[in-house]
Symmetry: C2
Subunit: 199 residues, 2 copies
DNA sequence: CGCCGCACCAAACGCCCGTTTGGCAGCGTG
DNA sequence: CACGCTGCCAAACGGGCGTTTGGTGCGGCG
């Protein structure tokens, strides 16, 4: 209660996340953004240095959230199926808790300047590698099927957790935990009914 | 050989698909597009009526491809697991054969005018309903697990086939059929190794 | 009280946008 | 040869863009 309002700069970043995610980066003008905050376009530049700085900061923020959520899992010792379940939960939670910046992250990273662009690409590779390691570990320890193609399996898992940004609605009846549990159950156990007849 | 070159209008649509998918709709100017075709910006308007017409036509084209691929499957009588496999194959094939327009479709539909926007939303609902019906059928006939949540299962399948636009590269070693078969195998059979121990 | 610095406004800058216009080569047809 | 049509160019239009600039009201501090 020492300071009831967020710093102006954070308010700007919040508004920018929302508007960029709703309309896209290039379709949002600085005057749109300023209007959303009740000010004039030029006044923004007392707090930020450029429009691209906003995009970079939003994307970096999202990257950091994913990193923090997944990196601590890397070294933990647990069965791969359980670890995969936990990774999916954390991944989806980050998406769900940051719908706006996650959407901007997935949609607008192409518009970054070369350095920031390269950083995002590098981050993607890191996450890819994380899931591939996890799956490889699972195959080696016998928790996951031995005939899995590591790369394709990672793509499948990443599809499930990333695509959530297009349909998940926070505040609905589904918590991130529910989504992750259901997805993990289906992915690990399979959709087919256990019939007993098998070629 | 009666006419070696495509009609100019089709060339424009092809270029627009590529540029819109690479840079985004708003980040591509009409002068960029014209330059790609070796002409002046204003000259485009001898063949098209507006920039948005291009976006609408690209998105409609993609919608039509999905419709044609999936609609014929609806009435066919086959076990649901096999039908799901075939649907995933056709879905991924459309994405793979139309990477540019599919990317535009997934990324830029938000920027359409209200009528075209509503049409795309309606299309999405149709595809959603198609997969939900298919899964419901599978549960009823006993091919798929009885405890599946229909909506979540459809989300999972759609994630897998839609997200392909972000990573698939035509001309690589993976044909759409390979991707679909692997995804369907993993989804239907599950990732977990058959141990024999089960609660 | 006088002063500073902060947050903002109003206006302007140069540039690029989507689109329109008028004109002009080339060419197949009468 | 004259005609009109097609496909394009060069230039311009009004407007919006991201950003800069000079000025102003105001709260806090010496």
């Amino acid at each position: 209660m020492t300071d009831t309002a967020k710093p102006r700069r954070e308010q700007i970043l919040d508004s920018a996340s929302r508007l960029f995610s709703e309309r896209g980066y290039h379709a949002t003008s600085m005057r749109d953004l300023a209007g959303d905050l009740g000010m004039q376009g030029g006044s923004l530049y007392a707090h930020i240095s450029s429009k691209e700085e906003l995009l970079i900061e939003i994307v970096n923020q999202a990257s950091r959230q994913f990193d923090e959520a997944l990196f601590t899992l890397r070294a933990e010792a647990m069965p791969a199926d359980q670890k995969l379940r936990e990774a999916m939960y954390r991944h989806i939670r980050v998406v769900a808790d940051n719908m706006d910046s996650a959407t901007v992250f997935f949609h607008e990273w192409k518009h970054l300047s070369p350095e920031a662009y390269a950083r995002v690409t590098g981050w993607r590779d890191t996450i890819d590698a994380f899931y591939r390691e996890l799956i490889t570990q699972g195959v080696q320890e016998g928790t996951l099927r031995a005939d899995l193609d590591i790369k394709m399996t990672a793509y499948l898992v990443l599809s499930a957790v990333n695509w959530a940004y297009t349909w998940y609605r926070p505040g609905g009846s589904l918590a991130p935990r529910d989504v992750a549990e259901q997805f993990a159950d289906m992915l690990l156990g399979g959709l087919r009914a256990p019939t007993g007849a098998q070629p």
